[in-house]
Symmetry: C2
Subunit: 430 residues, 2 copies
């Protein structure tokens, strides 16, 4: 075999993966002057054991550690990776292999990780969601309807006192959860401890007044040990959730937060800020459903998944695949997705958000069904009659959709909902 | 003002940023039907305080928290962000703002964060590199030449015993540092503790034999608390460095590792596996020099920066900007980069790597100068006479380049170097 053709060793259409293998599905465009087979071989090699030149000393055991491109055409590759390549319970290490150097190789012009099929031994080496959909329903005593969340808008600028007061108003309107925005952590104008303390007082008041359990998604995003401290503060004040910007803190810290939140009995709300840096281009990076899979495996309880119709880019195929990755117990291969048996890993709440308002609720309910946390910020707080009215209109729109009543019909007897529908109609924000 | 034109409030060509502002430089392509000004305003808004609809309750203080697009054309924007928006010492929070939702907005087709100008108060809220270039030179007693590193290839498959023996051979050849590959952490065939223990013994032997200080870049990449344990093990065995895959663990964990490594007197080697998911497309994501800036600010001591001529994609403009971000004390705006005064933040070693061999050393030395850690894996271990010869050839090529002697000339009196030159010539790997 010529030295330049070593990559053939990483390509084998007759290869049958073992049930313990991790399988990855990639989209690719080959680099200039690179054949399909060379491209497949280089991807399988660089993400497993390979190097670019012939070597003087090759251990025999190398053969059983190779990634093998076993199914491919000019744009899609499936690669199988043996169990021995991976460290159980180490998500960064998996990514350093299947999402690492291969993305920078000159041999591929574009490369996109579409999905990974994770075997039972790998899933079991992570904790998975602590609460999941059923656990959170039990905590909030909400049996069937979607949960609702609102984020004070503008994103930043409110003092902790103002922030808490807005939360109170929205809770009274029937919203379950008040969410911090992704870039609100602990700034001078709204310190974390102040915010969660003031909010806890008004939460107790709102719970008394409404008889409903009221919660918040409070953003602990920071250096890991600081996040630990903030999680402890949340638990002390009786909060149910910690929110984390899972991409900007990174997978190692999400794993740590998962452990810490178990100690405190806190659920995890995953915000995906920064994902679009690598999920937006449909030919390169990582598909959003693969990120959802990573986060469900580590064990968040909620994750933002897009809306198709809101202000953030999220194609229908992507959002549908995200929802499957969040909730299904068994996924059958199709489109971007590979076969996946989630075994004992609990389902996660998908969170549609970004430019939503009551007028878009019917479409969202049709797309997601009841197991979702529907999040509207401006679409609640921008209600002409204020925040409580905005919350009421959101809940009214959801109830109507669940009962199969049109918004137009529902607005006839609900003047507050009518005003929201009048303001926004079915506007899809840019 | 029409409600749809709120974005004008985030655009002001007459605005002069304050010296405490964080300034960001973006490349963009506007989304369908979006004007330049609307695009600029939406980017500045969504990355600071904005929302997509009119609101019933706006605090007056909002005005001074706005991001302002103050300089722009059809493809470049500079946005100033006031100090109050940011939490000192919280890198994930900065990214959740300037690298967050804006990348997913439908209003931009492509968006790329090219650079951030970080003011003194922000830099001082992080530790920065503990050792930097001078500190590491002192530890290794190497005054002027580049440091050298080799990674056992194939990437994975060697037992800890074999791995250590290869390291020993390479150390004897004159190489300073043996590096783990990015996906080698603690797998069954080569456990972390075994590897670093066996290597420590052979390191002591190699130091005795050569009279030189010998080190290693040992990969602690894992969940944060596991990384803490691994860092402590490294310190116990007298190692100088911990290696971290900084993108796959994420910024929060890198900050934590920086703190932990200070306790143990360990330097940090930053591997950038996964960066190309968001740095490769020149129109979208984050430019590599911006990632270098983030990591220098947090405080790694080395970082991989590409080679222009090796197997991984790295355009010349990018690599040159990376080198500046690593080493310069003051940077003047030009190309992708903004003005940056690094103040007391120490310079970082740029690490060229990926498909290098002795035949490419002259070009690398010309591009980088002596303050670099030149890393060759296959280009050392693939030497026809084995690993020690490979190390010798790499050092020989460096010495020749520093003295202005051509490789052809140097190979006349160095038969070991001659064999490397004969095998690889000036091959640029694909």
């Amino acid at each position: 075999m010529a030295a330049e053709e070593w990559y053939h060793e990483f390509v084998d259409k007759s290869h049958t993966p073992s049930k313990d293998d991790i399988i990855c599905h990639f989209y690719y465009d080959a680099g200039r002057g690179i054949s399909t087979e060379e491209c497949v071989g280089r991807v399988a090699s660089e993400s497993s054991v390979g190097t670019w030149t012939t070597l003087s000393k090759l251990p025999d055991r190398l053969q059983r550690l190779k990634g093998i491109g076993f199914e491919y055409d000019d744009h899609h590759i499936k690669v199988s990776y043996p169990k021995e390549l991976w460290e159980p319970g180490n998500m960064p290490q998996l990514l350093s292999g299947v999402a690492g150097n291969i993305f920078g190789m000159k041999a591929v012009k574009h490369l996109r990780l579409l999905d990974m099929s994770l075997p039972p031994w790998f899933l079991r080496s992570f904790k998975g969601p602590q609460f999941g959909i059923k656990g959170i329903r039990d905590v909030f005593r909400v049996k069937k309807r979607p949960l609702t969340a609102t984020v004070p808008k503008p994103k930043l600028g409110y003092s902790s006192k103002e922030h808490a007061e807005i939360g109170y108003d929205v809770w009274l309107g029937g919203v379950d959860l008040i969410k911090d925005d992704e870039n609100l952590t602990s700034q001078g104008f709204n310190k974390f401890k102040d915010r969660i303390t003031r909010m806890a007082k008004l939460r107790d008041k709102a719970e008394k007044k409404t008889g409903e359990r009221k919660g918040a998604l409070l953003n602990i995003t920071a250096e890991t040990k600081e996040m630990e401290k903030r999680a402890a503060m949340l638990a002390d004040l009786g909060w149910e959730y910690a929110m984390v910007d899972v991409v900007t803190v990174g997978p190692a810290a999400v794993q740590t937060v998962r452990d810490v939140c178990e100690e405190h009995g806190l659920a995890i709300h995953a915000h995906r800020a920064m994902h679009a840096m690598f999920t937006k281009d449909l030919r390169h990076g990582m598909a959003m459903p693969a990120l959802v899979k990573i986060m469900r495996t580590i064990g968040v309880d909620n994750i933002h998944v897009g809306t198709v119709i809101g202000k953030l880019e999220s194609p229908k195929e992507e959002v549908e695949a995200n929802i499957k990755q969040c909730r299904d117990k068994k996924i059958e291969a199709g489109g971007w997705l590979l076969d996946q048996d989630w075994g004992g890993t609990k389902p996660v709440w998908p969170v549609p958000s970004g430019g939503l308002h009551p007028g878009l609720v019917p479409e969202i309910v049709e797309m997601f069904g009841p197991d979702m946390i529907i999040q509207a910020g401006g679409g609640v707080l921008g209600h002409p009659d204020g925040a409580t009215a905005g919350g009421h209109a959101l809940r009214g729109a959801i109830d109507a959709a669940l009962e199969g009543v049109t918004l137009k019909e529902a607005a006839k007897t609900d003047k507050v909902l009518a005003k929201a529908v009048e303001k926004w109609g079915k506007t899809r924000p840019k």
